[in-house]
């Protein structure tokens, strides 16, 4: 009996942490390139909405996923235009895009469907063909295909970040763009790419939320998951493995909180939900390298835009 409960909890942890991990991996690229991306939340919700739109109008969930990725990318494009091309303020732009995306999605949701949530659409909640595998097939089939995409993405990210020229250049752009430009590398191109990658991954995470986990879109359905991803990146110091672990811890707290709400044990679920944040603040407070060699989070302006 307890065996099945444990398996159920593990499955729910994995499911709940998928969007945070995907968005966190995306954010990692953008932070590595020196662009703080608080707009992850907005990219996610746009991705979720566009995924539902695509799936609703074509009936094919995979087209929905592509639409979701594109939607996230569009918000990413705005962010990179403002922060990379035009030397704007990154944090404020991210916050603004969050509000804009939340407002736009619920505005269009209301004007298309008339209410704050969409009708059910074709979704990809299960991976059917894995069910044929003996023993563990039934468990594996319970995850959305996006979960398996995430595993591939994670391995790819680990490889890109540490083992490829692009990954290393991206990292150095974050620390010292001037030096990188002197070495003859296009700083702005790298930054644009990293923010766009971030947007598309956050869009994928949004698509997972709306048509991977559920089959509808609701207003404000990201519920702070994008911010959790931003926090995970900060806490994990932009290392993919650490981001994964921290996102899993967030998922654990989320799963525990859900279980507590269902079983009514007497501990307030809100208090469980504060655990990741308190842990995060403690971790950042103890971070000994906080003030040393920070990344260049200021805009690096093109010459033609200087006064």
């Amino acid at each position: 009996m307890s065996h099945t409960i444990i398996i159920a909890i593990i499955i729910s942890i994995l499911r709940l942490s998928v969007p945070v991990v995907i968005t966190g991996l995306g954010n990692m690229f953008s932070v590595r390139a020196g662009i703080m991306n608080l707009g992850a939340e907005g990219m996610m919700i746009t991705g979720a909405f566009c995924a539902v739109l695509g799936s609703y109008f074509t009936g094919n969930p995979w087209i929905g996923v592509i639409c979701g990725v594109m939607g996230g990318m569009v918000i990413g494009l705005f962010h990179s235009l403002i922060c990379v091309e035009f030397g704007g303020m990154q944090n404020i732009s991210g916050l603004g895009l969050n509000m804009l995306a939340a407002g736009l999605t619920s505005f269009f949701c209301r004007s298309i469907y008339g209410t704050g949530f969409s009708p059910t659409v074709a979704s990809i909640q299960k991976t059917g063909f894995l069910a044929k595998i003996p023993l563990i097939g039934n468990v594996l089939a319970q995850f959305s295909p996006i979960f398996y995409v995430l595993i591939l993405l994670f391995l790819l990210c680990c490889f890109i970040v540490d083992k490829t020229v692009v990954g290393l250049r991206m990292n150095s752009v974050g620390f010292n763009p001037q030096m990188v430009e002197t070495a003859g590398i296009d700083v702005w191109k790298l930054k644009h790419i990293s923010v766009l990658v971030c947007g598309s991954l956050a869009g994928l995470a949004g698509a997972y939320l709306s048509i991977g986990q559920l089959n509808i879109f609701m207003e404000g359905m990201t519920m702070g998951k994008g911010m959790l991803a931003v926090i995970a990146v900060q806490m994990g110091r932009q290392q993919p493995q650490r981001i994964l672990i921290i996102a899993l811890i967030f998922g654990l707290c989320d799963a525990l909180q859900l279980q507590l709400q269902i079983n009514n044990v007497g501990i307030a679920p809100e208090l469980i939900q504060t655990i990741p944040y308190i842990a995060g603040i403690t971790a950042l407070a103890m971070d000994s390298s906080a003030g040393i060699a920070p990344r260049m989070m200021q805009p690096y302006l093109k010459n033609k835009y200087k006064f």
Partner: protein, 364 residues
């Protein structure tokens, strides 16, 4: 003649900073165009929508008063952002501090008994400000002592505050009516007195707001300490070399900003709701950000901006019911405003280019 002119030009070195003056106008204009476009795409009647928004906010004395009431907490949030941004710190933890301020004053309003109104109200307000300030203390300490990035910490603090308030309102301080997540109503002696009651209730919150604006303006522009505080924001390195204790000013500004945010929550509880609801704030803290940025920290500009946001918030409800444009448009407007404020640099650059091209043509 020409010689005289050139000499005059040299003396008046400080040119009119068109970019700085015109950019807020441009930002508001672009936002309006975008919003109109959005309403147009959903086959909405543009004129109708704006008409009902304005009628909803100004149509009657009662509507005007509710606009003013909405503007008061937003203005405090704006002051809070303005104070911290003058020292070069971007405080987005306003929302959490505001919610905690509301908690502080509702606790004082509930559990401090047997006092006359003129003593009870100040106690409640001070308690709210203290709670907001204490909530800003943790990030301030971390920032000053360890140089931790404030941004992520503030976001986490906001989330913690919202969760804790839900917990308090449902758990330890839950009211007798279990159907709504709120505390019991505060005592009568803690309720803010009204200025007008006949068409609609207007509390003295608005007087406090104007008073705070005057005090802030005087402090920032007419005192040495205010000058030093502004210097920290304009050029922290120069300030450091001039012997100004930058970190101390920044921490002080953060605390003051927390206190102002707490004041916003406290006025909202004591004047409007008379009890602490779960999720009572529809993002007042985030309203403060664009206002303070557009006003570039000028307290009176913040007042004007807060009034405009009050118009938006009250008018949009009328717009939704009469013209059928959903009130989410407020969120969109805010989002566009903040995004454009983020891109202010390029807007100023473009304006500068335009102005200089004109000047060159004039000379040629």
């Amino acid at each position: 003649m020409t010689k005289e002119l050139t000499v005059k030009n040299k003396i008046n070195r400080e040119p009119v900073n068109w970019a700085k003056i015109l950019s807020p106008v441009f930002i508001v204009l672009i936002t309006m165009i975008f919003t109109s476009f959005l309403i147009w795409t959903t086959r909405g009647n543009l004129l109708n929508a704006y008409y009902y928004m304005i009628v909803g906010a100004f149509g009657s004395l009662s509507a005007f008063i509710s606009t003013l009431n909405k503007a008061v907490p937003i203005s405090f949030a704006g002051f809070a952002v303005a104070v911290s941004s003058k020292t070069g710190i971007f405080n987005i933890g306003i929302e959490g501090q505001l919610v905690f301020g509301a908690l502080g004053s509702s606790l004082a309003g509930l559990y401090v008994t047997g006092l006359p109104g003129f003593m009870h109200i100040p106690i409640c307000i001070i308690s709210g400000m203290l709670f907001g300030m204490l909530y800003a203390l943790i990030p301030a300490l971390l920032y000053v002592k360890k140089g931790t990035g404030l941004l992520v910490i503030h976001i986490m603090m906001n989330n913690i505050a919202n969760l804790l308030i839900t917990y308090f309102v449902v758990g330890p301080f839950a009211g007798d009516n279990r159907m709504i997540a709120s505390t019991n109503p505060i005592q009568d002696s803690a309720k803010l007195p009204y200025l007008i009651t006949t068409p609609n209730k207007l509390t003295i919150g608005i007087i406090i707001s104007i008073a705070v604006a005057c005090i802030l303006w005087h402090y920032l522009n007419k005192t040495t300490s205010g000058y030093e505080l502004r210097t920290c924001g304009d050029n922290s390195i120069a300030a450091k070399f001039a012997g100004i204790k930058v970190k101390r000013y920044q921490a002080g500004a953060l605390l003051a900003s927390g206190a102002l945010a707490g004041l916003a929550g406290s006025i909202e509880v004591l004047g409007t709701y008379h009890r602490l609801y779960d999720n009572f704030s529809p993002g007042y803290g985030f309203d403060g950000i664009p206002i303070a940025m557009l006003a570039s920290g000028n307290p009176f500009g913040v007042l004007v901006g807060a009034f405009l946001f009050g118009v938006l918030r009250v008018g949009s409800i009328n717009m939704q019911s009469k013209a059928g444009v959903s009130s989410e448009i407020v969120l969109v407007i805010q989002g566009v405003l903040i995004t454009l404020i983020a891109a202010q640099y390029i807007i100023r650059f473009a304006i500068n280019k335009l102005v200089y091209r004109k000047k060159k043509e004039e000379r040629a």
